[in-house]
Amino acid sequence: MEFLFQTLNGNIWAMFGAAIAFFVAGMGSSKGVGIAGQAGTGVLTEDPGKFVPVMILEAIASTQAIYGFVIAFLILGNVNIGGDLSLESGLFLFAAGIPVGLTGLMSGIYQGKVAASGINMIAKRPESMGRAITLALMVEMFAILAFIISFLMLGKV
């Protein structure tokens, strides 16, 4: 513990915060988009005409990484290498990276799964596009809330 709080200064903690915000959320989106993409290629082999709706559904799970990216970038804006960032502020920034990162991980993966089954649904019923998107967006809500919380936490530093 002593090592953590004495050797690591505020800047390093902030860096960790930025890393978590992006790479964890990014992993979630990668996995989610990957799952949806696999379902998509399956549908496209049968019916190449469905490319646009499939692409939209596949892209839905990428927002988690974008939210993570935004938060990471804002955290980096506070980092001041060589200068001093107090340990307290550094830990604040670290904490601010956690909600968007971890929630992004889970919500990205599960949104990808919902999007994948949505893709299978529109393969059979193209008119259900609206429903498929709406169902996938339900999962998005939690990433959005996490993003807002991370953002508000950043505002406190």
């Binding site: 939210y67 709406t134 809500m141 959005i144 809330l145 953002f151 508000l152």
Partner: protein, 654 residues
């Protein structure tokens, strides 16, 4: 601005006039012909009429359509003419049309020629495939110098074959030499799956040789119809493939020479398509020996004109009646320009049923405002409005595309409006202070409160529409119980929670909170007493009344769901300023850097625009579907599909 009232039309006419009447109806395109074949299940009808069906004719026409389509598809590959980005249907004059149709024999010759060439192409392609595979199977034997038709001399046998990759060929060779000294074995080549062997042995020792080889999983290979060495064969086959390729391109040239007929074929296609539709509608019609009966829906305002026109042109009886109150009729919407642009979005959810009001007029302003708030960058708004405005002015568009472009136009204006209010112009920080209201990025908490407020307004409007629907259905008591009481409860709840909303001074609103407390209690008591009114038992009635208060949780989560208005708006603004920062990090001190920076800026903003416009679109739709429609909208109507001339390529000018 609403759902068009429909009347029921029934028409009894002479069988001899049928084609003419149907033709007229089709050209007018305002009557939906309903299927009345279920009337056949009653005995009274069954004795009088029969179904008017002609499956054979329809399937014949269908196969013709299919043939023409595939011919057109072939030709369009060779059609060098420039195609517009938004291809609209071609206008064809009646004169040209009848000329082309008169010539249809020639066109059918062209089609059969094209289809014949198509079959040739398929054959040639499968030949090429076969030969390519043959080469692949010969490839491993390349180093075999013996001719393939050489099976041995008088006393020896030459054979080739393979063993699986796992078999040890050295071991095999040793073993073979030990058991049958009068033999020769050579490994021609090896790949990942198997080893290719050449064997020469004394014919009389065949059995012994095979006994050894069996242990290693040997199987004989033979190229039956080939003679000469492997290399000779490969060269010959490659030459064949080249020849086939030449024939393919010459056949394709033949097809391409028909390219001038494409336009005429399109006309023929549409001609037969219309013909098919006319025949198909007959399956909805019942007939006796000399007369027929047809029923359908027709918009109220065109009823009289159609009735007069048909009765004047033929001897027939047309009767128009208004539907009874509880009868569902097909839905046709008439809206003003703005409301019409969101029709596809509502339709993706569901069409309204005949008992409720068309929600498009109320959905439109909310959808467009929410879209703008979520995109929130005035610069992007200008681009959207300019592009869609340009396309709308410059191109002739199909109805669906036009609606969508209009929607983009309005959303663009809305985005500009919010950009001006919140100071978002391509994420340029210097312009952030020009905000007419306040800057989104520097004061997100304020925006959060307003997002929630917009949400409450949106849902209260939704609840109001529910009241209007109930009122129109003459359920006046329900308006009080199911709408007004909820208003009381939700208002009380919202006021009560006011101090927890960010940027609200708890001292200043203490009066409102006090009022909210009483409203909340009053609302709760009223709802407990009223919501269980269907139940007979008094205890059950109170219990289900109390259970309905659970909707308060739903209300709260619905309100919080509007926080996405802030989140998506913030994401656009922050990402666009990130793009600017990253772009300008390089500096602008020489020309190459300036070019580089502009490329980064353009692609960065394009990406940001694409991903956030998509997000704003789907999230704005979602707020309508779940939070708004959930309050009042039942839907479930079926679309009005008039019997009309439905073409794919051309518009016929009469």
């Amino acid at each position: 601005m609403a759902i068009v009232k429909m009347n029921k039309l029934s028409l009894i006419g002479l069988e001899s006039d049928k084609e003419r009447i149907l033709d007229n109806l089709m050209k007018m395109g305002v009557v939906e012909v309903t299927n009345i074949s279920e009337k056949m299940s009653s005995d009274d009808w069954n004795e009088l009429v029969v179904k008017d069906e002609n499956h054979e004719e329809i399937s014949h026409l269908n196969s013709q359509i299919e043939k023409i389509s595939s011919a057109i598809e072939y030709l369009s590959r060779f059609d060098k003419r420039k195609k517009g980005l938004f291809a609209a249907k071609r206008n064809v004059s009646m004169n040209d049309y009848s000329m082309i149709i008169k010539n249809h024999n020639k066109l059918w010759e062209v089609i059969s020629e094209i289809l014949k060439y198509d079959e040739m192409l398929t054959n040639l392609k499968s030949e090429i495939n076969k030969n390519t595979n043959l080469i692949l199977s010969l490839e491993p034997w390349k180093d075999l110098s013996l001719p393939l038709d050489m099976s041995g001399t008088k006393n020896t046998t030459v054979s080739i074959g393979v063993v699986p990759e796992i078999a040890d060929t050295n071991n095999l060779n040793e073993n073979l030499t030990k058991e049958v000294p009068e033999s020769y074995c050579e490994v021609i080549s090896e790949d990942r799956e198997q080893s290719y062997l050449l064997l020469i042995y004394l014919s009389s020792k065949e059995e012994d040789v095979m006994k050894v080889l069996k242990q290693y999983g040997f199987s004989k290979t033979s190229f039956k119809d080939l003679s000469g060495t492997i290399n000779e064969n490969i060269a010959k086959i490659s030459e064949n493939i080249e020849n086939f390729k030449d024939s393919i391109s010459s056949v394709e040239n033949q097809i391409a020479s028909f390219v001038n007929y494409k336009d005429d074929l399109e006309v023929l296609h549409d001609h037969i398509l219309v013909e098919r539709d006319r025949k198909k509608i007959s399956s909805n019609i019942l007939k006796t020996q000399k007369s027929f009966i047809l029923e359908g829906w027709i918009p109220e305002n065109s009823s009289k004109t159609v009735k007069d026109y048909i009765e004047k042109s033929c001897d027939c009886l047309v009767e128009i009646i208004e539907p009874s109150d509880d009868e569902e009729y097909p839905i046709l919407l008439v809206n003003n320009d703005i409301s019409r642009s969101v029709e596809p979005i509502t339709q993706m959810y569901s069409l309204p049923n005949t008992k409720e009001i068309d929600p498009n007029a109320i959905t439109a302003p909310f959808f467009i405002l929410f879209f703008g708030l979520m995109l929130s960058d005035g610069g992007y708004g200008i681009i959207m409005a300019a592009l869609s405005g340009f396309i709308l002015l410059k191109f002739k568009l199909e109805e669906g595309t036009k609606k969508f472009m209009k929607l983009i136009l309005y959303c663009g204006f809305s985005t500009m409006f919010w950009g001006a209010l919140l100071g978002g112009w391509f994420g340029i920080e210097a312009l952030a202070d020009t905000a007419l209201w306040f800057n989104l990025v520097s004061d997100p908490e304020r925006m959060l409160s307003f997002s929630l407020l917009f949400g409450i307004i949106h849902m209260f409007v939704g609840l109001g529409v529910k009241g209007i629907n109930l009122y129109r259905q003459k359920k006046y008591v329900d308006v009080i119980y199911d709408v007004v009481f909820w208003y009381v409860l939700f208002t009380g709840f919202a006021l009560f929670l006011l101090p927890f909303v960010p940027k609200v001074d708890a001292e200043a609103v203490s009066g409102l909170v006090e009022a909210g407390k009483y409203l909340l209690i009053a609302g709760a008591v009223l709802l407990i007493l009223s919501q269980g009114r269907q139940k007979k038992n008094i205890i059950l009635r109170l219990f289900s009344g109390a259970a309905s208060l659970y909707d308060l949780i739903g209300f709260m989560s619905d309100v919080l769901s509007y926080s996405r208005l802030l989140a998506l708006g913030l994401a656009t603004s922050v990402i666009s300023s990130i793009v600017n920062t990253m772009g300008l990090m390089l500096g602008l001190d020489n020309v190459i850097k300036v070019i580089f920076v502009s490329v980064i800026l353009i692609f960065g903003h394009l990406f940001n625009f694409a991903i956030n416009a998509l997000g704003a679109y789907v999230h704005s739709s979602r707020l309508q579907y779940i939070e708004f429609f959930g309050k009042f909208y039942k839907g479930g109507g079926t679309a009005f599909e008039p019997f009309k001339v439905n073409t794919k390529y051309i518009n016929l000018k009469y």
